[in-house]
């Protein structure tokens, strides 16, 4: 029988094996191979996004197999969603010869990693949201696929105002930090231009979970439309509570920065029906390359690609294509190949702007469907409109060093 001494010995062995650095697990043996770093939050609150991102990276790497006559592999790097951990692990990966990175879901980790990779003369492409990434803190080594706040508002608030000419009074709920203000300022500019009355705004902290107070303020202002400018679980909480206050029946609700399928699965059709959402990606996008990806993912994983999956797949593909074009994995050569690169992307024709390394792509306005109208379990929303809106690199305050 196991006595206490044995148990202690066993558990110390177990504990020390748990302490081995699990964050750096090469999917293929290093050496002469080309390895792409995939720094994603694989643990912590954003682990779900990281998991799908990693699946997307794995899929494109397996698909391509070989680049420049060398075997292609990837290195999954668990950032834990923490900038300091992300930077440390990216440094370690660079010491092992990795120069190309696709990942970073949270703005804070993406900003930190971008600087670190640029310092090490590597290339980093991300899908994080903060405007600074290709704005005031842009740098030579960092590229961004997702549309910044300006475009997200231009492609959601503007078309909705045109669709709903009677919605003259808008109320906003905004998280109080740079991201929220980015969205809010873009919305205010459109309100002013279109003669919309901005009847009020509630700022809230980034840790807020209870929105009933803010919604009470919003209802008291009697708006025609409620514009929700927070994201992730905060936007789900805001929407859930707004629906419980009967606001869906009294006004139009727009959630400008939704994360797509990942978020819709947690909301469900009852909450989503009739609500408008802004999104970077949706598996229902009608483009040849996206249709191809959806078919492949369904065949392989029996699911539809969500935003984390699709964006990791595409950003990794951009790095591979650029390395092929450059004939090298050296940072400066790949950067040169990426600047101005035009390609067929998931959202149609996409282009990497050389001046600030921002990808010029579509942003989508979706509308939630009734449960009875859904054709399959993921058919939560229809695309209402889409388009490309971007500030110039100067307006975005990017001064590339």
């Amino acid at each position: 029988m196991l006595n206490r001494r044995d148990l202690l010995k066993l558990s110390s062995v177990a504990a020390s094996s748990l302490l081995l650095p699990a964050g750096l697990r090469p999917a293929f043996a290093a050496g002469e191979d080309i390895t792409i770093g995939a720094p994603l939050p694989m643990s912590g609150p954003f682990a779900a996004n990281g998991k799908f991102g990693s699946m997307g990276t794995a899929m494109i790497v397996e698909e391509v197999g070989k680049v420049l006559d060398r075997k292609l592999g990837y290195l999954e790097i668990d950032t834990e969603g923490k900038p300091a951990t992300a930077v440390r692990k990216v440094q370690e990966a660079m010491e092992r010869g990795v120069t190309l990175f696709a990942g970073g879901i949270l703005s804070s980790e993406a900003l930190a990693m971008g600087k670190e990779v640029a310092k090490g003369k590597g290339v980093f492409i991300t899908t994080a949201g903060a405007d600074e990434i290709t704005g005031s803190e842009c740098n030579k080594g960092t590229f961004r696929w997702s549309v910044p706040t300006f475009g997200a508002i231009e492609q959601t608030v503007r078309p909705l105002i045109e669709q709903l000419p009677n919605a003259k009074r808008w109320y906003t709920i905004t998280p109080q930090y740079v991201f929220g203000d980015g969205l809010l300022n873009a919305a205010k500019a459109i309100f002013k231009e279109k003669g919309i009355e901005h009847v009020g705004n509630s700022y809230h902290s980034l840790t807020e979970k209870e929105f009933s107070g803010y919604l009470t303020n919003a209802m008291a202002a009697k708006p025609d439309a409620l514009l929700i400018l927070n994201f992730g679980s905060q936007s789900s909480d805001t929407l859930r509570q707004a629906v419980s206050f009967g606001m869906k029946k009294r006004m139009t609700i727009l959630l400008a920065w939704a994360s797509g399928l990942e978020q819709f699965e947690t909301l469900g059709p009852d909450l989503m029906e009739g609500v408008y959402f802004g999104a970077q990606y949706w598996h229902g996008i009608d483009s040849p390359f996206n249709r191809e990806l959806v078919a492949k993912v369904q065949a392989k994983h029996k699911m539809n690609p969500n935003y984390a999956f699709a964006s990791a797949y595409l950003t990794t593909k951009i790095l591979i294509d650029a390395a092929t074009k450059a004939g090298s994995t050296e940072g400066s050569a790949v950067i040169q190949a990426m600047e101005g690169m035009k390609y067929t992307g998931l959202t149609g024709d996409e282009e990497i702007r050389a001046a600030d390394h921002q990808v010029i792509k579509n942003y989508y306005l979706l509308k939630g469907k009734a449960k009875s109208a859904m054709k399959d379990k993921d058919d939560y929303a229809d695309i209402i409109s889409f388009g490309k809106s971007f500030q110039s690199p100067e307006q975005a305050q990017c001064k590339m060093a």
Binding site: P45, A47, A48, Q176, S202, Y203, H204, S205, T207, E208, K209, E210, S212, G213, Y214, T216, N217, M219, A220, S233, S236, D237, R240, Q241, S244, F245, G246, E262, E265, T266, L267, G268, D270, L271
Partner: protein, 284 residues
């Protein structure tokens, strides 16, 4: 007028906070045990309701069953693990219960995934109550009503029954109660299960309002501690007053100074600690 809305909304919030905190307070009062796993019981209550409604079970049945399962699990935990560490300093209580909370959280992620989900409001209460300009979700009104009934029932239990007398006596002197021939170990288990069951009920009731996600327990624990510290450790009435106070302050601040609505709760707690170290109604 808007302040009146916020006051009502604050009372609604406050009743939920009371339910969340009163179990923690009772457990501390009798067992002198600092239970950092309290949020985990709240989390479990919410997820059990989520799981059962996802499987097609009626919400009301789930609302009844979930807290009972949580209470039973808590009783098991208490009799197997926690009662062995009561005599140790508080740091050990924290160590063990934080560990327990982390285990429950990870277990929830393993069982139900890291993403979270939505619990639909029961059809009968999915509408809104309208009085002039005042609009309030019927479900939240129901929560206020139910919590009020529970608060009265709980007060009756603690003040009017023999079990209540034993609990109150036990919180004064455990040894004396033991000497009187009462099986204090069983009372301890019962009280711990009751406290945890109340947290489970709070989680179950909150699920249609907040949805479920694996990290909701941590947030709930924070609020519960604020309420208990303001109200006074171990005080039933203190938990009620403090719960309402926190709810109302939070709600009214969202109109006065929205950015600081959350900050004010913690600032309020700091003030109470400085001026009344035992809380509003705490004992020595």
């Amino acid at each position: 007028m808007i302040y009146l809305f916020q006051l009502v909304n604050g009372i609604g919030l406050g009743m939920l906070y009371f339910l969340l905190a009163v179990g923690l307070s009772i457990i501390f009062g009798l067992l002198h045990f600092v239970n950092f796993a309290h949020g985990a019981f709240y989390l479990l209550g919410a997820y059990l309701v989520y799981d059962m409604t996802e499987r097609g079970l009626n919400f009301w049945a789930a609302l009844l069953v979930a807290p009972i399962i949580v209470g039973a699990l808590a009783a098991l935990t208490e009799s197997v693990l926690l009662r062995r560490i009561y005599h140790l300093p508080h740091t050990f209580h924290i160590l063990v219960t934080v560990g327990l909370a982390l285990m429950v959280q990870e277990l929830v992620i393993i069982l139900w995934g890291p993403v979270g989900g939505n619990v639909p409001t029961p059809d009968a209460l999915s509408g809104v109550f309208i009085l002039g300009d005042f609009i309030y979700p019927q479900y939240r009104l129901f929560v206020i009503g139910l919590t009020l009934v529970l608060a009265i029932g709980l007060w009756g239990l603690l003040e009017g029954t023999r079990l209540g007398a034993v609990v109150r006596a036990g919180s004064e002197s455990t040894d004396m109660v033991s000497l009187l021939g009462i099986d204090i170990l069983r009372v301890n288990t019962a009280v711990f299960a009751l406290g945890a069951g109340l947290a489970g009920l709070a989680g179950a009731l909150a699920a249609p309002i907040r949805g479920v996600e694996p990290f909701m327990g941590v947030e709930a624990l924070g609020i519960a501690f604020v309420v208990v510290v303001i109200g006074g450790m171990g005080s039933y009435t203190g938990a009620l007053i403090a719960g309402l106070l926190v709810g109302i302050v939070q709600s009214i601040m969202t109109t006065l100074w929205p950015e600081g609505a959350r900050l004010m709760i913690y600032l309020g707690m700091g003030l109470v600690i400085l001026t009344m170290p035992r809380g509003l109604l705490g004992r020595a």
